[in-house]
Symmetry: C2
């Protein structure tokens, strides 16, 4: 397995991503995508939009990244979106207290422990500062809120926060979004955009950053009625790592089908199971290595209190902090890499909508029409206020309300001559006659229900990283070692590169222009490169992951092979002479995901070249 | 002209955009794009990427939105990105002091006046609070920085700011980006993404918001060598409103060509002129009404101190704050609307890169190779430190430096026996012999230059708004008034809508499914709508701006016209019966921007229906 450092080094060299603000020493946790990384990320987002918005028939919205405090009071982030922090008394460095504990004891999931226990563990195990080795024993552990705070408007303004998840921008607009969905469940709303977490120590390369891109789908369902179309995914094979296996010393991940896992109750929610099946196909499509992939169920201690069932999609990537091992020197890479969460699948119940309804006072429900109107009996009072007023004065209104509440709860109480109600802790006695109790028969056409939410939440940056690392290959071509990215063409930043062999021959440059034009007209993204040796240009495109290179040489304009060019396939480094007028069609077909054709079709049809030009 | 309020009302009703966080009373200056608005915005960004990144051969990057303070110390935003604020002593409301002054006096560009002058103007004209009418006379005017501030990391952290323009994310990474461009000028880097301005009173609907999307292109050029390909745009007609015309009472905007405007010196920079020409075609493409569009030159007082020439693209939109006038009641709309800036074109010189070089200490230059190496004479000293040391002690190094500086500035000085240099204000006398002065002949292959920057900066949200407003139409169809958006198909959220006339006939539903499938297979985005009357469904799609609706009725499955459907064109509301197997091809051709075919081709080939079904 390749070391993360090698991937990060290539990413920087070839314009995928790099630490931002380098000229000013950088700020941990912020990365900039260079031109090739931005293109891969854009391709990945398009593939996500195609699968989870368009094909699922969902609506995509775009909400602001800054939101007011009230939203996060309701969502619980203001109180609960904390990490445990311990500050070194010597060097002043801040550390995640739970991570320190996990790294140095056999405690797992220290995050779920109460603060005093973690403080006790630090004392007990005499944990020390990873930066300067000072003792942390006795230092206070504090809850640190991970939201970035700012102030909206002039003066003291009002507090605002950068959203810690795109989801809140969807939940908070539910009252309007349901109108766009014409008040019919189920419906789904998606959003792709930035989210922010003010991590305490974001050291793990690009894996744990402070600003990142999420692609989230919130599916609003009627939990009593709506079933996912399970038949679409029941036969999809998935690798599952259920909680039971994680808790068992001998337990391990295993392969099964979505249908079987749901039937056996391993996956607790049909909807979550459905999305695991849909997502599985999508990860394959974008190039995640499925041998380094699993769905891991949350352990009971990990589950948010409102979540019924939650699974993470995890990919295995090179362990961070291990120097390049593949080159033979330095530390050996670990056998296994790190498993990182790239997506969370959660059954969030009605938690989010209920909280926003409670805090905002607005309605976050959908009116659910009954198949047939229901006739129900409803107890009601119609108190004689002319009597209540003089008798109870300022309390009369409260007494009337209490009578109505009593009627709904215990209609039989009105059989007696007098009823007693409590107002502000005082017992009040009212004549039953004054209450005017009755039972009405009413027809109800439906009821207001708060939808439940099923959420797949994708971490786009981690998937970009995974896709690049899982495509990272080294081999030897013509006795020279090379590195290349075996990216799926749908993900690659560039479809093809065109190289004029020399830059001082106009006929050759004209032909290169013609080929470039033909390829672009066929809809391919093309990089034109006339700088450096051909070998160097191949190496550059190999590292960028460009599927095909087209070299225009003198043979093509005057030699034995007039009007032909060399087409080279990235992964095999095989080369073939293809007539100029066929190049665009051939490459277009090879790049078409719906066309099965492989490079063999070209080597069968045209002359293959035995030796690669890169050593020429 | 339509009132802005009508557009905003339609935008809310049809899922284009609406004030965010409405359940919590909203926060001024933050909008959410609903599904149709997000689609239009995405289409607009794609069209921008196509024109300004792909076709111009530029690189697109994606940088974080949070940046550290050092970046904005260098860029000048920390000191200078301010608006003038005056707070009402009665109601506490904050107002833009410059806007108040402009609105109530005949002063223009109050923004460029010093604070005490604005305070004086408020006193002089007895300006009052627009909210509560309290006197503002005597209240202090303060500079309010428009950046949103936050804190990065735990504890006191380090200050960070939400970027006020995407450009800084490009400038600050220039040292790396130039490597991706292989150190060759000119090259361009683009970015599309959020930017933030903490506006004092963001009241103008969606026009002046606190969080918005910019699409910026930074072109790095060698000002002495690089010329834009003016021939591509010299004949492009543009409406210009130069500074001279603005300053002239009788002056007005006029139409000319880019080539002529550059030749006559109206446009001061070839590069700025080039981009005006490129942008002109792009605005036309996305549907800006060119009769409500102009390029306005910045007045001398408006220009940033570093900018040589700057033009804004401006569109005319319905005046804000005027109630719907087209419906006949309420206030009459003003004759003219408001002109709003939708793009800025600036020649920023080397200001940005020089500032970042100065503040970061890093190199923000490109090595410019000479065509041929130059032989130059260079005066140098090689002081005898064994003599200087004892003579000048701790100042010896400074004396040596001063001698070198003198040699470069005035080599002849070393002809005398002694030379005088100044160190920390003291005159020092040195023997010429000790300085070891000589003139060396050196060969230089090139020099390090700081590129200049030409920047077109597009405000995507304002262009989305303009495109929607300029597409807003009302007319009568079958004696009923209707509203529709005549959006260019490339911008429309949906290409076509499919309506089964009734929902209780399986044959009809099957046919509707088949048509939907055919259209999607042809690459069209399709909305399927089976809810409400056909008239209502047409009105809905008209207001969304869907170019074509396809209605599947009983005639199509059993009547006189088997296997045909009704295709309706949005703008003309004309309808035609088209065979099912032809629908996808016909609509695909009509929607193809490279195909000139109009709806007439369909009415010529098939039976036109005289009466619209919407009144049926």
């Amino acid at each position: 397995m390749v070391a993360q450092e090698d991937v990060i080094e290539l990413a920087k060299r070839r314009g995928f991503f790099f630490g931002a603000n380098g000229a000013y020493g950088g700020v941990a946790g912020f990365y900039t995508y260079g031109p090739n990384g931005a293109a891969v990320k854009d391709n990945l987002e398009s593939a996500w939009r195609d699968r989870f918005t368009v094909r699922q028939g969902n609506m995509e919205i775009e909400a602001p990244t800054i939101m007011p405090e009230a939203v996060f009071e309701a969502s619980g982030h203001l109180d609960g979106f904390d990490d445990m922090l311990v500050e070194c008394p010597e060097c002043g460095e801040s550390h995640r207290a739970d991570h320190l504990t996990e790294d140095n004891t056999d405690i797992e999931e220290a995050e779920s422990l109460p603060v005093p226990e973690v403080e006790e563990l630090i004392r007990e195990h005499d944990l020390r500062c990873p930066s300067c080795d000072a003792a942390l024993s006795g230092e206070p552990v504090e809850e640190f809120n991970l939201m970035f705070e700012t102030s909206i408007g002039p003066g003291t303004g009002q507090p605002g926060y950068l959203r810690p998840e795109t989801a809140q921008g969807i939940f908070v607009e539910f009252p309007r979004l349901k109108e766009y969905a014409r008040n019919r469940l189920p419906f789904g709303v998606t959003q792709i955009g930035p989210a922010y977490r003010n991590e305490i120590s974001p050291r793990k390369g690009i894996i744990r950053v402070r600003e990142f891109t999420q692609a989230e789908l919130e599916t609003f369902i009627d939990p009593e009625e709506d079933e996912p179309p399970l038949h679409e995914v029941e036969d999809v094979e998935v690798t599952l790592y259920p909680a039971t296996e994680q808790e068992d010393e001998e337990g391990e991940a295993y392969t099964t089908t979505v249908g079987e896992a749901i039937e056996k109750g391993v996956i607790g929610s049909d909807w979550v199971g459905y999305y695991l099946g849909v997502a599985q196909g999508w990860y394959e499509r974008v190039g995640v290595d499925m041998d380094r992939f699993r769905f891991r169920q949350h352990l009971p201690g990990e589950l948010a209190h409102y979540a019924a069932d939650c699974w993470d999609a995890e990919s295995e990537v090179g362990a961070a902090g291990i120097a390049a091992g593949s080159s033979g020197d330095g530390e050996e890479p670990r056998d296994g890499g790190d498993w990182i969460e790239i997506t969370g699948f959660a059954y969030r119940s009605d938690y989010d909508l209920s909280k926003h309804a409670e805090h905002s006072g607005e309605s976050f429900t959908v009116f659910k029409q009954y198949d047939e109107p229901k006739t129900v009996e409803r107890a009601a009072v119609d108190p004689d206020m002319a009597t209540l007023g003089p008798e109870f004065g300022g309390d009369a209104g409260a007494v009337a309300d209490a009578l109505q509440t009593l009627a709904e709860r215990d209609p039989d109480a009105f059989d007696a001559n007098e009823v007693e109600v409590e107002v502000d802790g005082d017992e009040m006695t009212v004549d039953s006659d004054v209450a005017n109790f009755s039972v009405e028969t009413v027809t109800e056409n439906g009821e207001h229900i708060t939808p439940h939410v099923v959420e797949p939440s994708f971490g786009i940056d981690r998937i970009v990283y995974t896709v690049i690392e899982h495509a990272y290959r080294t081999d030897e071509v013509d006795d020279e070692e090379r590195t290349y990215l075996a990216l799926d063409p749908e993900m690659a930043a560039t479809d093809a590169a065109v190289f004029p062999l020399v830059s001082n021959d106009d006929r050759l440059l004209d032909l290169a222009d013609e080929v470039t034009g033909d390829l672009r007209a066929a809809g391919l993204s093309v990089e034109y490169d006339d700088s450096g040796s051909i070998g160097r240009r191949y190496r550059r495109q190999d590292e960028v992951g460009t599927p095909f290179c087209v070299t225009v040489d003198r043979d093509g304009v005057e030699g034995d092979d007039p009007d032909t060019v060399t087409v080279r396939e990235r992964d095999s480094a095989r080369q073939v002479r293809v007539p100029v007028r066929e190049v665009a069609d051939e490459l277009d077909a090879l790049l078409d995901p719906e066309d099965d054709r492989a490079f063999d079709a070209l080597t069968a049809a045209y002359d293959e070249i035995e030796t690669g030009v890169e050593t020429a």
